[in-house]
Subunit: 426 residues, 2 copies
């Protein structure tokens, strides 16, 4: 887990602001949930591998000595959403679209773009089974990446029912489906041989047929000719692809039967977005029509997509995609410090400049002026305001423009405008 | 711990945006730290009462069965800051001003405005012992509250060295100073009799002298005439009060010798901000010159202030202080849905409207139009765009303004402008 120093936060905020703006353009509304969930809310939702990565919180007070956990850190934003929708059902609209940008925690081994604390930027749409929902979610994610400056991402699309149909038709027994999906999901990570080995280890029969189908990506419709649910899944994917035609996702989406997605709660279309220079994905999602029902009697259809903030930032940093003019300095103007008596005037001047919406750094120590100017320069503060005895007596202020070394004196009551004019000169 | 539904998040974001803007006007820079700290980083920093309120995280993997904790949830933003400054010292400027708006967790009993997960909005200034630092921190907090619409807050000011001087002069033995401060800090909560009882229980001598001095608030300078450190503390407070004169904090600050602040790391001036209708404080802070030194050999002077987001929101909600025009709807325009064929056109229209920066909700189901309009109305979406067969054939769109029931048809290629004109009519 990492600290984010000011310039890191500014870059993160730049990305988050774009994500938020685009998500809001799609009618998604903000939701926030606590970092801490009841342990039982999370267990059993993420598969065996997920279960082991949950951070658990020790009971408090007299129960602490038991060594038992009753709470846990949020592992993703989807399960908490399902809990919220089940719990606050009466307060939420029938069709509910929410976005959520918050950290999650996984006790995973850190790798490039993978951390134990990381932010997910999720959109989810609840209450409709229409393929419009999948299309909108994909278009929103595509718009986010386009606005951030990505031009080479691909959004892979598949369907859990299609996978089930293929596994059934290939003769994989139902009890092995979960194992087969976990292994097949790793095709782009560990390759055909790796997956074949894992399938065999997990006791999945017919692995060669599966791998032929998944790596050639042809003949699936024919393979499933006698499987109505498989045909319906294919038709659903065709509808989604038609609906995104007129959006930025239109040229980005590819049907990819090898995409499986690890999480166990997906029931329909599944998606993942990739760029060539990152081994994992930038994000993924899918339809999960049964998850809300696990928290309440009532089943509510749902579909969503999750973007990984850190992965986006890793790629943007390596490619130099952040705007050069992202402001990185602490202030527009520094007020220099002379002596204790003068400081009361300096504070009042700073207050006036702040009322003009300027960002003002008051230098707190009566150091030599050269040292103070050097500090302003080293911090990228473009302008320094000085109040010496003469200025105070005449109710004036001297402004120094550090880039040009130009120096000018103005009445204190128009200091804000004078600083803004100076800044406009660059 | 609570879920924040969309309108809650919007109100929180309104407050956070003002806090952030004001803090940046003071030259504070953003910092973020992980939610999870090493347990040993936190223990011993918050006093005995604080230690017991820390949420502890169980070891992972094979060590989980030990029932032991090695990590903990952030308890405040000050100790993590001290750790950051000690750890990243070479990367940070000599004078470092940071703000941090993040949640902290305390296993406390919930009460009005007090939750187990809550956000703190902190400003801290490191590297200077100048009273300008205290004055700036107080002015920033005062500006935040003014911008939020508070007009009746009071900022109480005291000094740990002044308290020590009073305790020493009153004859309280040094080992009892901590106990005395914890008890005296509760004067506004449990009253004179309650504090007297607690002082006696904690074995503090001279409690009547102390309580006379603290409740009358007079004669302290005389009482400390023979105590140079006490006199220096009083002088420091006088300087702070002089420096805030020209800021919004000038008329808000009161010297209050009974203010003690619970946390054990303060070393100099201490502050707390209160409003009449909240029993606890909206926030507090002070100087802590030794905390960074606990994480590195080098001691770095520091002073900060922490505002409690939830407490601010509780008071603002009860008083109805949120602006009436805070946008609470999910979209500016809803695109209605007719049939599968029409939906591809609807998606393309939505994409065009979004390129005009409009917030667009695509209704995903081909329900009866009356049901769709009712949904838009119930969600406060002011305008509905409809694409029937005729509109699609003529490349037009029909817009319905829900408030006036007015309906008009426009070419699709100026749909964005047409919607904006409609919205401008209100």
């Amino acid at each position: 887990m990492r600290d984010f120093l000011p310039d890191d936060v500014r870059r993160r905020e730049h990305v988050i602001a774009i994500v938020r703006t685009v998500y809001e353009r799609y009618g998604f509304e903000p939701l926030e949930t606590p970092a801490v969930e009841n342990l039982e809310t999370l267990t059993g939702k993420y598969g065996d591998e997920g279960n082991q990565l949950i951070f658990k919180i020790l009971k408090r007070g007299e129960h602490e000595a038991s060594g038992q956990a009753d709470l846990a850190l949020r592992y993703d934003l989807t399960v908490p959403l399902a809990r919220v929708v089940a719990h606050h059902h009466a307060k939420l609209p029938r069709l509910f679209k929410r976005y959520q940008i918050q950290p999650v925690w996984r006790a995973d081994r850190p790798a490039r773009g993978r951390f134990r604390e990381f932010y997910q930027c999720d959109v989810d749409s609840l209450g409709s089974t229409s393929p419009v929902v999948e299309a909108e979610v994909c278009a929103a994610v595509s718009d986010v990446l386009m606005e951030l400056g990505f031009r080479d991402f691909v959004m892979r699309l598949n369907h859990r029912q299609l996978l089930t149909a293929i596994l059934e038709t290939a003769g994989v027994e139902e009890a092995r489906h979960g194992d087969a999906l976990v292994a097949l999901d790793k095709l782009d990570k560990i390759g055909r041989d790796g997956v074949a080995k894992e399938l065999t280890e997990r006791g999945v029969a017919g692995s060669e047929t599966l791998l032929d189908l998944f790596t050639s990506r042809n003949g699936i419709a024919e393979f499933l000719a006698a499987h109505p649910a498989g045909q319906a899944a294919l038709e659903n994917l065709r509808q989604i692809l038609a609906l995104v035609e007129g959006t930025s996702a239109g040229s980005r989406m590819r049907l990819d039967p090898s995409l499986a997605r690890g999480l166990s709660y997906y029931t329909g279309a599944i998606m993942e977005v990739n760029v060539p220079d990152l081994a994992g994905s930038l994000g993924g999602g899918g339809r999960y029509d049964n998850l809300v029902g696990m928290f309440s009697g009532q089943s509510i259809p749902a579909c969503g997509f999750s973007l990984g903030l850190e992965r986006i930032i890793v790629v943007m940093t390596e490619r130099g995609m952040f705007p050069a003019d992202l402001p990185m300095n602490p202030a527009d103007v520094m007020v220099a410090s002379f002596d204790q008596a003068g400081m009361t005037h300096a504070m009042a001047l700073a207050a006036a400049l702040r009322r003009s919406s300027l960002r003002v750094f008051v230098y707190p120590e009566p150091d030599k002026i050269g040292k103070q100017l050097k500090y302003a320069e080293s911090r990228g503060i473009p302008c320094v305001a000085m109040l010496g005895e003469n200025e105070i007596a005449r109710r004036e202020v001297t402004l120094k423009h550090l880039a040009s070394r130009a120096q000018e004196t103005h009445p204190q009551d128009r200091a804000g405008d004078a600083v803004k004019e100076l800044l406009a000169r660059g």
